[in-house]
Symmetry: C2
Subunit: 238 residues, 2 copies
C-alpha cells in the first residue's frame, strides 16, 4: 500500500539507496542552481565585465560545494558515531539496568493506550533475543536508524558534485560572453528553465507533485536572484 514510503523508509534496500542518492542530488543541486545564479545576477547589476562575475561565481561554487560536502560528511559521521555510542549504551543497560529498560518498553506502549498486561508478551519475546531488544529500543525509544557503511563519504561527494553541476548552469553564459548585461539575460533564461525542469523531476521523484515542485523551485531561485540583483544595484549607487 505504502510503496513509496516503504521504499523511502528503507524496507527495500535497493530503493533505499537510490532514495538517499536522489535526496543528496536534490540538496546539492537546489543550492547550486540557486545561489551562484543569484550572486551572478546580483553582480550583473553592479559591474559590466563578466570577468569578475565568473571569478566570484567560481569562488562561490568552490566555497559552497566544499562547505556543503564537508559539512554533510562530518554531520553523517557524527550521526554514525552517535548511533554507535547509543547502541553500546543500550547493550549495557539491558544487562545492567534490566528493570529500567523493561519499564521503558511498557512506557512506549502506554503512550498508545496499551496496558502493561497487554505489552508484557512483547517484552518477553524481546528478552529472548537481546539483539532484537536493542534494535527495538534504538528505533522505538530513541528513533535512531543505522547508516550504511561508507554513506558519509558517498553523500558528501554526491552533494558537492551536484552543487558544482548546478552552479555551472547559470555561470556558463558569463564564461562564454563578454558583456554582463547580455550574459545576464541568457543566464536568467537558461537557469529558470533548469530550475523548472529540476523542480519537476524532483517533485516526481519525491512524490510531492511535478508542477507544484517546479513552480516552487523556480520561485526560490527567482526571488533569491531578484533580491541579490536589487541589493547589489542599491549598494553600487551608495
Amino acid at each position: 500500500m505504502h510503496d513509496t514510503n516503504r521504499a523511502i523508509a528503507g524496507h527495500d534496500e535497493k530503493h533505499f539507496q537510490s532514495g538517499e542518492l536522489v535526496r543528496d542530488v536534490v540538496i546539492g543541486m537546489s543550492d547550486g542552481l540557486t545561489v551562484p545564479f543569484a550572486l551572478a545576477a546580483g553582480l550583473s547589476g553592479a559591474v559590466s565585465s563578466t570577468h569578475l562575475i565568473v571569478l566570484a561565481g567560481m569562488a562561490e561554487i568552490a566555497a559552497g560545494s566544499i562547505a556543503m560536502g564537508l559539512g554533510g560528511y562530518l554531520a553523517a559521521q557524527g550521526d554514525a558515531e552517535h548511533y554507535a555510542s547509543e547502541r553500546t549504551r543500550e547493550e549495557r543497560e539491558i544487562v545492567e539496568r534490566t528493570r529500567d529498560e523493561e519499564e521503558e518498553i511498557y512506557e512506549i506502549f502506554e503512550e498508545y493506550g496499551v496496558e502493561r498486561s497487554e505489552s508484557a508478551s512483547v517484552l518477553e519475546a524481546l528478552k529472548r533475543n537481546p539483539t532484537a531488544w536493542v534494535d527495538f529500543m534504538m528505533r522505538f525509544e530513541l528513533g535512531l536508524e543505522e547508516q550504511e557503511k561508507g554513506r558519509a563519504r558517498q553523500s558528501a561527494l554526491t552533494i558537492a558534485l551536484s552543487y558544482i553541476a548546478g552552479g555551472f548552469v547559470p555561470l556558463l553564459p558569463y564564461i562564454l560572453m563578454g558583456q554582463a548585461s547580455k550574459a545576464l539575460v541568457v543566464s536568467v533564461g537558461v537557469t529558470l528553465v533548469a530550475l523548472f525542469t529540476f523542480g519537476a523531476v524532483k517533485g516526481r521523484l519525491t512524490g510531492a507533485g511535478a508542477w507544484k515542485s517546479a513552480f516552487q523551485t523556480t520561485l526560490i531561485g527567482g526571488v533569491a536572484a531578484g533580491a541579490a540583483f536589487g541589493l547589489a544595484k542599491l549598494l553600487n549607487k551608495m
Copy 2:
C-alpha cells in the same frame, strides 16, 4: 537515562522546541559564517578594492539566506502536507482494509522476533482506540512525526537570520577597511575565532563534544576559504 536524546526526540515539549531552534541556528550560521567568508577571501585573491567584495558578499548573503530560508520553509511545509495526507490515508485504511493493517502490525513486530501470538494483545489494545492505532502506524510503520503548527515559518526565519548574522562577521572588515589585502587578514582572524567559538558552542549543545566540533567547524571554513582563494587567484591569472 537518555535525557539528551529524549529532549531531542521530543519527549519533553520545552526541550524539544529549544532543540529545534538550536538546530536551525546551527544550519543557518554554519553556512553563513563559511560561504561569504570563503567568497570574500577568494575575491581578495583577485581584486584590490573592497567595494566589489562587499557588493559580492552582500549579494551572496541575500541569495544564500533567501535560498536557505525559503527552501527550508517549503521543505517543512511539504513534510507537514505529507504527514497530513498519510494520516488521512491511514485513518481510512484501518477502517476499509482492517485486515491488511492488522497484518502490518504483526509484521512490524516480527522484524524483532516477536511471534504473532505475542503481539496479538498489543493489536487488540490498539483496535480499542483508533486514534492511538493511527498514531502508532504513523510512527512505527511510516516513521513520520507530526510538526508543531507554525514550525515552517519560524524555522525559515531562524535559518535566514542566522545566515545573515553569520555572514556579516567575515564581511565587516571589508566594509570598514578600504584595502582588500588588509581586510582579508582581519577577516580571516575574526572569522576563524568566530568559527571556533560557534563550533564549540554547537558541540556542547548537540552533545558532540566542544573541542572536536570547534576544530571541525574551523576546518570546513578554512578549507572552503583556502580553495576559493586559490581558485580565484588562478583564474585571475588566466
